[in-house]
Each structure stands twice: as structure tokens, then as C-alpha cells.
Symmetry: C2
Subunit: 359 residues, 2 copies
């Protein structure tokens, strides 16, 4: 995409809370512009546009209208609606930034990915932390055979304690809207973190750890699982709506280890920490460590969601202006994440039996 190419024009389908954050990111990203917002309610869409930095010329629709000027859509609708609207958007030649969980199961996701692929469109799931500069630095550490070695074990968490109002009303606890509940909303990040740490090598099986906590509608509010590979690697995760805020990844290798405690959303927007340890040993008499672990701080001018939008738009621009092909990393890892989520769900449904994951 040339430096002077016009910005990628975004349409937003739905006015979810998270769409406010992504609208701000589209405004802050140098290569994008807010172009349209659609909601089932024109009033809601109008108010959303007015309070989220849409320019005066932006289009506001009381439906999920097709607008030929829109290059790309961001879809933060409830998960059960993704397949319908994402496929339709792809048929209308819109590139797709899809909020997670991307689908209720990999069968639905295949329909979405197929629609994007057959129309030559860029697909990306809106997993913001993947785009933080810290994530790149951490991945470099994990890729270093001297500092980290070979992966042995990963543990990931993501939880936040929701309000009584959320437990009654939020779409994420409604079986007809987001049937995967905490597994889809928070477990998605844990599974992605584990895949990321294993350089996206798909585990061979998933086993749920215990009977999850459900609400009255049968939606998962908290659960955990283990994943194992053909070799000796093993991973575990815990995700919940009923636990105070936690976002941990502990990655253990033969020669080093890495820890991060706010990977989903950093404690602060402009700096982010992680710690690493390499080739540690005991001091004499085993009364301490040498060397001690290192704390690392990454400063970032742009928030992680802006990096996400910017990278997505860069790929869209390359397709639009340079005849590039869509980058297939994003559909590939989205599909792997969904495959693992599906296997965990099946293990839960089958009384904690191990479930084979077939790529």
C-alpha cells in the first residue's frame, strides 16, 4: 500500500461496547477511517456514531446495510450471528475483522473462511494482544534456542469477575447468543496464548479438567482444560467470569521461561511488562538463584488495538492497491484456535473424556 493511498474505509456492524474501543482504534490508526455504522436501530447507530468519533460524512444505517464504499467491516455482533453476517459481508466483497469468539464451532467458521477466501478477502480475528509490540518481543524470546530452548509447558488464564447485572443480561451468558460463554469469551485468549507459545503447533488432544460451572441456561461460566501434543509438551488453562481479573501466561522451556500477567489487556496502555529467566541455577548452598529473572518493559505509542487495525488495513490496502493475496496466517490460527475450543467443549460435554484434535 503506497504511503499516499487513501485510508481503508471501515463499516461497523453493531454497536457493542467493544465496538467503541475499536472505533477509537480506527480513528487513531493512520491508514483507516470510520465510514459507516449499522445497527438494527437507527437511533442507536446515530448515537453511537456521534459519541465515538465518526466524521460528519460517515453513514449511519438502521440495518446491516450494504454500502459499496466500505472496504472492510468490523463485526462485533453476538457470536451466533457471525456466520450469517460475516458470509454476507464477504459476498459483498468486504474484508473482515471479526470479533471473537469468531464462531460457535469450526463448521461455522469454515463457512466464513471459505466466503473470504473465495472472494479474495482478508480475514482477521480481533484478538488485540497478538498485535502489541510486547507480543513480538516475547515471541522472539520464545524462539531463541539459547535463551528459551524447547517448549515444555504452558499455563494460561483469563478471567474477570462480572457483575450480577452481567450474569443476568449480558449476551455472553445467553445460550441463544453466545453459547460458548466463558470458554468462548475468555478461553479463546487462553487457547490462542497456548497456540502462540507453541508456535501454532496444534495439540493432539484436549481434556477438560473438571465439571465447569454453568448458569441456568447451560452456558459455561468457568472451566479449565489441558492440552497435550505428540511429544512431551503439555498446557493447561483456566478461564472464568466468576474470578477476579487474571491474564497470565507462564511458558516453560528447557533453558528458560517467560511470564506475563496482563497479556490480554496490559495494566497500562502505553507500557507493558513481562519477565524472562534463562539458564538459572542455584547459588552455593541453594539459598538463591543466579541469574535472577529479568523484568522487561515495552513502551508503545499506539495502543494494541490500533496496531491490530493498522496491520489489518495494511493487508487490505495491499490487496486493494497492489494486487497482493490475503495473508493466510490469520485464518489459519483462527481456525486452530476454534478447533481447540471445540475439542474442549466436546470434552466437557462428554464427561471430561480426552478429545482428539484433528487438523
Amino acid at each position: 500500500m503506497a504511503e499516499d493511498a487513501p485510508p481503508i474505509r471501515f463499516g461497523i456492524l453493531g454497536c457493542a461496547e467493544v465496538a467503541r474501543k475499536v472505533s477509537r482504534a480506527i480513528t487513531l490508526s493512520p491508514n483507516t477511517t470510520l465510514y459507516a455504522v449499522g445497527s438494527r436501530s437507527l437511533d442507536k447507530a446515530t448515537k453511537f456514531a456521534a459519541s465515538n468519533g465518526f466524521p460528519p460524512h460517515a453513514k449511519v444505517y438502521g440495518s446491516y446495510e450494504d454500502d459499496p464504499e466500505v472496504d472492510a467491516v468490523y463485526v462485533p455482533l453476538p457470536t451466533s450471528l457471525h456466520v450469517q453476517w460475516a458470509v454476507l459481508a464477504a459476498q459483498k466483497k468486504k474484508h473482515l475483522l471479526l470479533e471473537k469468539p469468531v464462531a460457535l464451532n469450526v463448521h461455522d467458521l469454515h463457512k466464513i473462511l471459505e466466503a473470504c477466501e473465495s472472494n479474495g478477502l482478508q480475514y482477521m480475528d480481533a484478538t488485540m494482544w497478538m498485535h502489541h509490540p510486547r507480543t513480538t518481543q516475547m515471541f522472539h524470546f520464545l524462539s531463541d534456542p539459547q535463551q528459551f530452548g524447547r517448549l515444555q509447558s504452558v499455563h494460561a488464564t483469563f478471567s474477570y469477575g462480572v457483575s450480577p447485572y452481567f450474569l443476568e443480561n449480558d449476551i455472553r451468558v445467553k445460550p441463544e447468543l453466545d453459547a460458548l460463554g466463558a470458554l468462548g469469551d475468555t478461553g479463546w485468549y487462553c487457547v490462542r496464548a497456548i497456540l502462540w507459545a507453541s508456535n501454532y503447533e496444534l495439540p493432539k488432544s484436549a481434556t477438560a479438567l473438571h465439571k465447569p460451572t454453568y448458569n441456568d441456561g447451560g452456558v459455561i461460566l468457568a472451566c479449565g482444560a489441558s492440552l497435550s501434543w505428540e511429544d512431551d509438551k503439555v498446557a493447561t488453562f483456566y478461564c472464568s467470569f466468576l474470578t477476579d481479573m487474571s491474564m497470565d501466561i507462564i511458558v516453560m522451556g528447557t533453558k528458560g521461561s517467560l511470564r506475563v500477567h496482563d497479556y490480554v489487556i496490559p495494566n497500562q496502555e502505553k507500557e507493558a511488562k513481562f519477565s524472562t529467566s534463562s539458564n538459572s541455577n542455584w547459588v552455593e548452598l541453594s539459598i538463591g538463584w543466579a541469574p535472577n529473572p529479568s523484568d522487561n518493559v515495552v513502551y508503545n505509542d499506539l495502543p494494541q488495538e490500533v496496531h491490530m487495525v493498522k496491520e489489518f488495513a495494511r493487508l487490505v490496502g495491499a490487496i486493494k492497491y497492489n494486487n497482493s493475496k490475503p495473508e493466510d496466517t490469520w485464518p489459519v490460527i483462527s481456525r486452530k484456535t476454534q478447533l481447540v475450543i471445540d475439542a474442549v467443549k466436546t470434552s466437557i460435554d462428554n464427561g471430561l473424556e480426552p478429545v482428539e484434535i484433528k487438523g
Copy 2:
């Protein structure tokens, strides 16, 4: 024990590397004295006494001799020898500080505990971190219904990357000496950490996570397991001789969480850190946390192993001088730890089947 009571006289059975650290602790503790050391080799015992601060009048034996002046023994022998020598020591009325893993199985441990109990003796396993002042502060946090709430999930790790020499020669990888391998040596700490975090509520079942790594002698070099309770609590751990140094506990509750990354042996001897988070929420637009987690530092004049020796000697002194009863907390939690270790081992041996833990 009166302030002016004579110090508790320690005998040490065996000259393992860890005995050097405990000898130093006995020297540093104000209520104990190094009184005797026994080894199968008189030469070894003599050298050990000379290089580990034994006073000139200390007794040196070329066997595991009975010395009537010894109040208490510290037993760092290979695990397979514990039951024989610990029971014999108890019959000779020696209080028992027993290195971990305390036994090959709970059946052997029962013999040891029964010998101590029937002779009115104090028993304690040498799990040093339990006695660090940091551990007490962390436990206070976990016990606070406003700051931490109800326990939901624990993850614990303990690993260190051993040398090729260790993998060939160390007692901890010899089936006839320490048949539990990494599960007994490092998994012991993980299991204790999980029990500690759950206020010693015994889990109802243990399930190994994957096929462990074994050496040629069939000794476990790395493994992981999950534990679950009757209610919604769940725990996982990973322990290894093949992974760089890791000592993590992540404890997640309904209202708060706690993290420590050097719980077995702090990075530094005189200060130790942990972090806590309570009632965290998103800031506007979910671009950060409020409040952020807190870092806590605990300063300690005495190393954790000195606190252990001092507390053990305090209990022994209370029995010896004040007719107190032995403190039964220590045998109780040692037995629970061993029960869980046994269940994990059974799950491994039974192809990762869940194993019920019966108290």
C-alpha cells in the same frame, strides 16, 4: 520452652548436599545446636562436620549410630531408606525432621507417623518455604474474604534443569533410591502449594495430564496433573527436572488473586516478593486495569530454613521441657501431600485415569 532452656541437640543422618544447608540453619537458629552426624563412611562424616560448622565437641559416627544425647534427627537420606531409619530413630525417642519426599507412598509414611505418635515425638517434613515470613503474609491475603474471596483455581510449578551428570548419577533419578523422581522431588512442592492455597482441603481426585517423561530406569523426569474438589475448585501443576528453573504459584479467587514466582527458594535470601490483585476492573473503554496489581516485598533477617529449624526446635523444646503434646498440623499436612502424590502416581500408572483421593 523457657528462654534459658538448653538448645535442642540435632543429629544428622547422612551427608547429602541439602544437609549442608540445614546444618547452617541449625547453626544460625538460636535454639538449636549441631550435636552429631552419622554416615556410612566415618571419613565422609568427619569431613562433613569439619566443613559445615559443627562445634569441636560434636560427635562423628561412621554409621547411623544411636546417641542418647541427641534430641532430634534430621534425615536427608534417599527416600527409600526413610521408613527404616525414621522408624528406628523414633523408637530411640528422637524427634524427626524428615527431608521430602518423606516416603515412597502413604503406607510407608503411616509407619513413620505412627512411630512418632506412639513415642510422643514431633514430626515435621523439611518443606522450608512453609516457614518463610512471606508464606504467612500470603496466607493472610488468601484468607481475606474481602481481598481474595473464595478460591477458584491454583496453578503451581517447580522445575529445574539438571546437568547430564545429575541425569546419570543423582539419587533422585535412581529407581532403587528415589523412585518418585521429579514427582517426589519437585512435585512435592507443587502439591503442598496447592494444598496450602486451599487451606489443606484434600482434593477429591487427581488426574495426570499427559504421559510423563521417564528415564531408562522408569523414573519420572517431568509430569503434570490436575486436582479437583467436590465444589468448583480446580488446580494444576507441572514439575520437571528437564525445564529451566520455575517456582510459580498463581492462586485465583472470586475477588482477588496472588502470584509468586520463587516460592520454593526465593531469588534472594533476605527479601522475597509476591504480587496481589483485588477487585480489579477495567478502566473506561477497557484499555487498562483499575486498580493495578500490587507488588509486595517481605524482608527477613533469617533464611526460611532457619525459621523451619527454629519452629521445629520450639515444638521439640515445648515437649521436652513443658510436657506439651506434639503439634499435629505437620503430620496431617505431610500425609495429605503424600496422599495426593500417590494418587497422581497411580493416575500416571493407570494411563491418566482420574484417581479418587480418600482421606
